[in-house]
Amino acid sequence: MATIRAFEETVQRLFLGGHIPGLVHLYMGQEAVAAGVCAELAQTDFIASHHRGHGHCVAKGGDLDKLFAELLGKRAGYGLGRGGSMHIFDPENGNLGTTGIVGGSVPLAAGAALTAKLRKTGQVAVSFFGDGVLNQGIMFETMNMAAIWNLPVLFVCENNGFGEYTAIDDVTAGKDIADRGKAFAIPSEHVDGMDVLAMQAAARKAVERARGGEGPSFLICSTWRYSGHHIADKQEYKEDEATKAWRERDPLNQLARKLIADKSATQAQLDAIMDEAKAAVTKAAEGARKLEAPSADMLMEHLYAE
């Protein structure tokens, strides 16, 4: 979580400084979801991320140097710097990619889970998606197939209350989001997305079920994005008060308070972790700034696999 937070703060700074091209969506506030779930995954397990995806990339073990290189449009990035924030793929760590199409990666995760099942690899796949996806047909279709085929996949909804400038309640019918999963008899539960330990516990159960051949799970994680929809968004549609209240439950602070209370860590230790994270992130970011952009002949590279 510390690395994700430091990462996103740095991304924000770099973006505002004009160093990052394109559309960038920040993950600050939602760190517990990516961190809690990925803590339960092996390197060979799969995740599929979305447009707000830096947190997943970091939590799944992504290389900070390559991540910054990609964001800054440098040829040393994961995609030669041609993908940017919304198109980061990390095969070494089973990351099937961030994506610019809302809901677009949901079936990718389930498809990877299908391969894992058919080829008996024991891998598990996680589909991360926002609350906006709750109203997309492709989510329902994928859940149905995951259920009938008992696929080792976790559907992890990061419910931050908004899809762009539209509040979820205005566009999402039903009494309980969990009913969307239950309609397919998929075990579906609400999790506190600001509490990394709760996230991790829920993920552990779901991963165990998946690996044990018991099929998919659906976790609905209540969380909040501190930033605008994308960096440039001023958030006039959202109340400052609400954000303030959610910040009280900030995932990093919450964990810190717990660890200190039960004496698992001291403030100094925690500060050291945060400082280390910041240093690592700063080093990667600074390093990336010095790298080369792709050359013109790299435009056509990898159009087709040979």
Partner: protein
């Protein structure tokens, strides 16, 4: 004629205002089109003026949104439905092609489907491979659809009004990179008919058929070439379907040379149809092969160094024309 300077974006918005005020069957449907005023500000003020019943915010459900728009049109509304990025029309192709485009035909005129599918395209700003594409070649290939691609403020407004009043499904493709270009727009109720090309600049040496944002590019190229005593004629088809074949062919027959410029992908793109048309029907008039300029066949990178390489520019237009004249 009284007129004012407007940007392309505001001209379209004014067209929407006027048509909504004129006909209460006209409504706006899409994601974040209401209080938010559209992600590009392209529906700004409509919600305040016409209310939530006429400016409908939707969930992120493109296939069903579009399908419902078709049903709403069959039942008597005249919706303008927005697909936020041109890349996302991939999600509505079934309802667009298998329903909207064919219902008037299949019902032998029993049902009309008067709707406008409005979408924004355009390479620029490093939005990357999933937020920069334009599939005008696809929709132009589908019988029953009309396809509009404006580039100037006056045309954008007049074509939007015509599209709304048309009784067929019209795909209205706006290039974001033209949104802030300003132009003179009449204060009166000017309609630009669908199917009429415009000669944007007259010239004797070669014809450039320029699609949407390629028109401003071609105009810049014309300035460059004029200094070399080369005068190009620029034809803006304005609507891809119906395509004003007569105007295009008449121009080429006059100049004997043609370049087709389009910001979409080259291969199997809109430029191919126009080039094939000219090559076949102006064959005896041509002094040089019809050439094409369009985006190379590659995903559009999110990279400031590479993105410009996938947009044809004025220098390339000028170079192609010079090559043609020296052939």
């Amino acid at each position: 004629m009284p007129s004012k300077q407007l940007t392309v974006k505001d001209a379209i918005l004014e067209g929407l205002f006027e048509e909504m005020a004129r006909d209460d069957r006209v409504c706006i449907i899409g994601e974040d089109v209401g209080a938010a005023g559209g992600v590009f500000g392209q529906t700004k003020g409509l919600f305040e003026k016409f209310g939530a019943d006429r400016v409908v915010d939707t969930p992120i459900s493109e296939p069903a949104i579009f399908g419902m728009t078709v049903g709403a049109a069959m039942a008597g509304m005249r919706p303008v439905v927005e697909v936020m990025f041109g890349d996302f029309i991939t999600l509505v192709m079934d309802q667009l092609v298998n329903q909207a485009a064919k219902i008037h035909y299949m019902s032998a005129g029993g049902y009309r489907v008067p709707l406008v599918l409005r979408t924004a395209v355009g390479v620029g700003g490093n939005l990357g491979p999933q937020h920069s594409q334009s599939f005008h070649a696809w929709v132009a290939h589908v019988p029953g659809l009309k396809v509009v691609m404006p580039q100037s403020a006056a045309d954008a407004k007049g074509l939007m009004k015509a599209a709304i009043r048309d009784d067929n499904p019209v795909v209205f493709i706006e290039d974001r990179t033209t949104y802030n270009l300003k132009g003179e727009v009449a204060d009166t109720d000017e309609i630009v008919p669908l199917g009429k090309a415009a000669i944007v600049r007259e010239g004797r040496d070669a014809t450039v058929v320029a699609v949407s944002r390629m028109v401003p590019m071609a105009l810049k190229a014309a300035e460059i070439l004029a200094k070399e005593n080369i005068e190009i004629e620029i034809v803006d088809p304005r609507t891809i379907v119906p395509l004003d074949r007569e105007t295009i062919l008449a121009s080429v027959k006059k100049t004997s040379r043609a370049l087709v410029a389009d910001a979409g992908h080259l291969d199997f793109g809109v430029s191919a149809e126009i080039a094939a048309l000219i090559s076949e029907h102006a064959f005896d008039y041509l002094d040089a092969p019809v050439t094409r300029l369009a985006a190379p066949a590659v995903p559009i990178p999110c990279n400031a160094a590479l993105e410009p390489l996938v947009v044809p520019n004025e220098q390339q237009i000028a170079q192609k024309i010079r090559g043609m004249l020296n052939a």
